[in-house]
Structures are given as structure tokens and as C-alpha cells.
């Protein structure tokens, strides 16, 4: 079968538009087509606003000019906390239960998805056992785990989003040099927007590595590297996706602010967030996606719950 036929047959099965969606779209068009009595044609924007669904704008904290020293102090604390955490031994797995939420520019937030992942000791698995509870609400991961034949995997192939944890040095100076070398491959190599500077790429690498369960020595070293990245700011008194109080270490470039959220008291890693701070295409300031790690533990095998 040639690849074009394959692609045609692989087109996702999609439901036709609902009657409501068709009606709503038609109403917006009709509103644009009928000028008001004043005879001034409706601006397209006004027509859209008139028919728009109510949108909740989530207020976001503007970091303002905070001294870099505060961010560095929090990061050093985070490094100490991370270094003291137990590591996974060969043959064991780190169990991570997390909540994720994405936001559509106009339809608002997606549902909160609960995922459980099992990371092996040497990290960076080719296939990562994962259970994503459908139609989740917090606690939705309590659903029954799938039978072996029905299990999903996260397949780590294709363009990488960050350098692999198992290859990285854990001495901070060496790690720093390595991360900047990787960043020098350019933003496209990492699926980021053209023009993204190296400092932002390094921040994003750290954010992603922390989300994916790096060993404790690497996490500690990542925090130390971040303490020396220019442009990193601290935002105190945030809440993560699970509502927990935290401090966020952030770096903004372009339209997005990247955040690493740490527990307020211990500066243990809680999760990450990406917030739009400027309009970009359909995105509006305040639109965000977030991950909160709500439970981590060491277990003996994949698909075992602590």
C-alpha cells in the first residue's frame, strides 16, 4: 500500500459537527452579515464577542523586578532538598502520579487528566509504562489499572524535547557546560520557536527533566545550574494545579513564561507550568498548561501502585 493511501485510510475518525456547533457558527456568521440599525457594519471582532462563550481569564502573577538573589536562594534550597531524596535502585521504578491540564485559546481549560507513570532506575526509557485515566478528575487515577494486553506506553521517539537524563553529568559545572552545548544546537532541534535564546532553552531542559523524574543528584545539579541562568525570576505565593502553595522559579521569553513550582516550605518539586503573558495568535495572557506531581514513590515493578 503506498504511503498516500495509508495516510488517507489513517485519517482520524472524527464526529461530524454537533447541531449546536453548526448552529452557533451560523449565528456568528449571520451576526456579521447583518449590520446594525446605525448602518455601520459590525466589526468582525464585535460579532465574535457577541456570540462568544463566556471565558474565564485566570489571573496570573506578574513577577516584576525581583532580585535574582531570591531566585538563587530558593534554588539552592531546592537543590539541598532534592539531594536528600531517596533514589531508585536498579530493578526498581519511580512511581509518579500527576495531574495535567491544557487550555484552549477560546474554549477554556481542558479537563484535568490524571496519569500514573513508572520510570525505571536508569531513567529515559524507550517505552514508559503509563496509565492515563480517561475522563479524569483529581483522584481519577483510582480507576482499575489496565490488563497487560491493554496497557499504553509513552514512546520516546522522534524529536527530543530535552537531553536524556541518563547521559548527563551531575557535577553542576559540567552539567551547565553540557546543557549550553545542547542548547547551541538551536531551538529547532528541540521543537522550540526560532529565536529562542540558549538561556531559555536551558531553563526549559531543566523544567522538563524535573518533570520526568531525573535521579536526585541530577535534580540537585539542575537547580544549581538554574541559579546561575540569567533572567530567572522568583514568584512567591503561587498555587499549583493541585492547589498546593508554592514558590515558582520562572523565566520568560517571547510570549510564554515557563515555571518550575516548588513547595513553599521545603522547595521540593511540585510541578511545572507554561503561561502566556502576551497575545500570540489565539492565545491570550493567562492561558496556560500545567502539570502537578501529586505523588511519587519507589515501587518494585511497573504498574505497581505504592
Amino acid at each position: 500500500m503506498d504511503e498516500l493511501t495509508l495516510l488517507k485510510e489513517a485519517a482520524p475518525e472524527v464526529a461530524p459537527p454537533t447541531t449546536e456547533a453548526l448552529r452557533a457558527g451560523r449565528a456568528r456568521l449571520a451576526a456579521a452579515a447583518r449590520p446594525r440599525r446605525s448602518r455601520r457594519p459590525l466589526a468582525l471582532g464585535a460579532a465574535v464577542a457577541a456570540a462568544a462563550v463566556a471565558i474565564t481569564v485566570v489571573p496570573y502573577a506578574d513577577p516584576g523586578p525581583t532580585p535574582a538573589a531570591s531566585a538563587a536562594a530558593v534554588l539552592r534550597d531546592a537543590a539541598a532538598t532534592a539531594a536528600a531524596e531517596p533514589d531508585v535502585r536498579p530493578g526498581q521504578f519511580r512511581y509518579v502520579k500527576s495531574l495535567t491540564q491544557r487550555r484552549h485559546p477560546r474554549l477554556g481549560p481542558s479537563g484535568i487528566v490524571c496519569a500514573e507513570s513508572w520510570y525505571p532506575a536508569d531513567g529515559a526509557p524507550v517505552t514508559l509504562p503509563v496509565h492515563i485515566a480517561p475522563n479524569s478528575v483529581p483522584g481519577g487515577c483510582g480507576s482499575a489499572l489496565p490488563k497487560p494486553a491493554e496497557r499504553s506506553m509513552l514512546v520516546y521517539e522522534g524529536p527530543p524535547a530535552h537531553p536524556r537524563a541518563h547521559d548527563l553529568p551531575t557535577a553542576p559545572a559540567a552539567l551547565r557546560a553540557r546543557l549550553y552545548r545542547e542548547a547551541a544546537k538551536g531551538p529547532r532541534a528541540w521543537g522550540e520557536d526560532p529565536g529562542t535564546p540558549a538561556d531559555q532553552l536551558v531553563f526549559v531542559f531543566a523544567e522538563r527533566l524535573l518533570e520526568e523524574s531525573a535521579p536526585s543528584a541530577l535534580r540537585a545539579a539542575l537547580y544549581r545550574v538554574l541559579a546561575e541562568v540569567p533572567g530567572v525570576r522568583l514568584v512567591r505565593n503561587v498555587r499549583d494545579l493541585a492547589g498546593r502553595p508554592g514558590d515558582a522559579v520562572t523565566r520568560t521569553w517571547g510570549a510564554e513564561r515557563q515555571e518550575i513550582i516548588l513547595d513553599r516550605a521545603t522547595h521540593r518539586y511540585l510541578g511545572g507550568r507554561q503561561v502566556f503573558v502576551k497575545p500570540r495568535g489565539d492565545w491570550r495572557p493567562g492561558d496556560q498548561s500545567a502539570v502537578a506531581q501529586i505523588r511519587t514513590a519507589i515501587v518494585g515493578k511497573a504498574y505497581q501502585r505504592p
Binding site: 504511503e3 464526529a15 461530524p16 453548526l22 451560523r26 456579521a32 447583518r34 474554549l107 499504553s152
Partner: protein, 185 residues
């Protein structure tokens, strides 16, 4: 004697009439909105498709005076507008392909994911790695079922450009799929 039955006016006629009589434009919506929705849903998922469908027609309405009356079928024009709107969702589209790639199971079908309408992982990866212009051309052929000439009209490029983008995109797809096969064998 029965009155002669007039043939339904073609899209160009509807658009021309809508210049003076704007309400008539909704007839174009009735004809083509479901197809635009289907294309958008395949690329971005159903959530984004509702909005994108409506936006496509709002933009088309605004541009109706510049519609080329020689084109009896408005679909290429509409698909071109939709494709440019999809480009603004680029990140969402690539995330969707990555999510599809990541949820891909092996022999058995995976546990239902948040969005069940996902692509086979190797296709998802291959599509995500194509340059945007190649992906647009390829999916307009494969999923919107336009001819090369219609794709050229939609994207406002010469037919020769469409052919070369298609042939490069297909070659990349072939390579990716062959590699995937040899990996799993």
C-alpha cells in the same frame, strides 16, 4: 406545463450575490461547514474544530468581495483559509501528533486516551516532522481530498510547487514508515 427548475447556483454565484445581500453567504456555510469541520477536527481535534469552522467562514465572509468568480467551487478557497488558521494552532497540532505518538500501544489497542481519535504513532511522528508547507499540501490531498490544482488554489502557489511539496512529503513518509517497519521486524 411545469415550470423549468433552475439549477442551484454555484458557489461563485452565491458569493457574488452575497456582496449586495450579505445574508446569502450563510448558504455557503450550509454547503461547506461540515467538510471544513471534518478537516479541522482531523488535524486539531474536535474541540478546536468547532471554533475553527466558524472562524473560517467569518474570514471568508469578510473577504468575499475578492473571491475569484471564475472558480465555481469555493472549497479550495475555504480550505486555504482554514489551513492558515490551522497554522496558528501549530503548537496544538504538533502536540496532538506527539500525544498520538506517545499513546501508541503495541499489538493491542491502547487504553482510551483523553482524545480517542489519534493517529498511528509512526504516521504521527512522520507528520509532525514534516515542514509545515509540506504537511499542509499533503493533508489537503489526503484528508480534504482536493486535487493538486485545488491545493494550488487553496495555498495560492503554482501547481508545480504543490507537486514538488507532495513528492518530497511522500518520500519522507515512505522513509519513516519503512524505518518503522524494519525496526519492528
Amino acid at each position: 406545463m411545469t415550470a423549468p427548475v433552475a439549477a442551484a447556483p454555484d458557489d461563485a454565484a452565491v458569493i457574488r450575490q452575497s456582496i449586495a445581500d450579505p445574508d446569502r453567504f450563510t448558504e455557503l456555510y450550509d454547503r461547506h461547514a461540515p467538510a471544513i469541520h471534518r478537516y479541522a477536527a482531523r488535524r486539531l481535534g474536535s474541540d478546536a474544530a468547532d471554533d475553527l469552522m466558524a472562524e473560517t467562514f467569518l474570514i471568508a465572509f469578510r473577504k468575499r468581495r475578492r473571491y475569484d468568480p471564475a472558480r465555481a467551487d469555493a472549497r479550495p478557497w475555504l480550505y486555504g483559509i482554514a489551513t492558515r488558521l490551522i497554522a496558528r494552532h501549530r503548537r496544538a497540532e504538533l502536540d496532538r501528533y506527539r500525544l498520538a505518538e506517545r499513546i501508541g500501544g503495541q499489538a493491542a489497542p491502547p487504553v482510551p486516551a483523553p482524545d480517542p481519535h489519534t493517529l498511528h504513532p509512526s504516521l504521527a511522528r512522520a507528520l509532525a516532522e514534516l515542514p509545515k508547507t509540506h504537511r499542509d499540501a499533503l493533508l489537503l490531498v489526503a484528508w480534504a481530498e482536493l486535487s493538486y490544482e485545488e491545493v494550488a488554489a487553496a495555498l495560492d502557489v503554482p501547481v508545480g510547487t504543490v507537486r514538488s511539496r507532495l513528492s518530497r512529503a511522500r518520500a519522507r513518509l515512505r522513509t519513516e514508515l519503512t524505518m518503522e517497519e524494519s525496526w519492528t521486524n
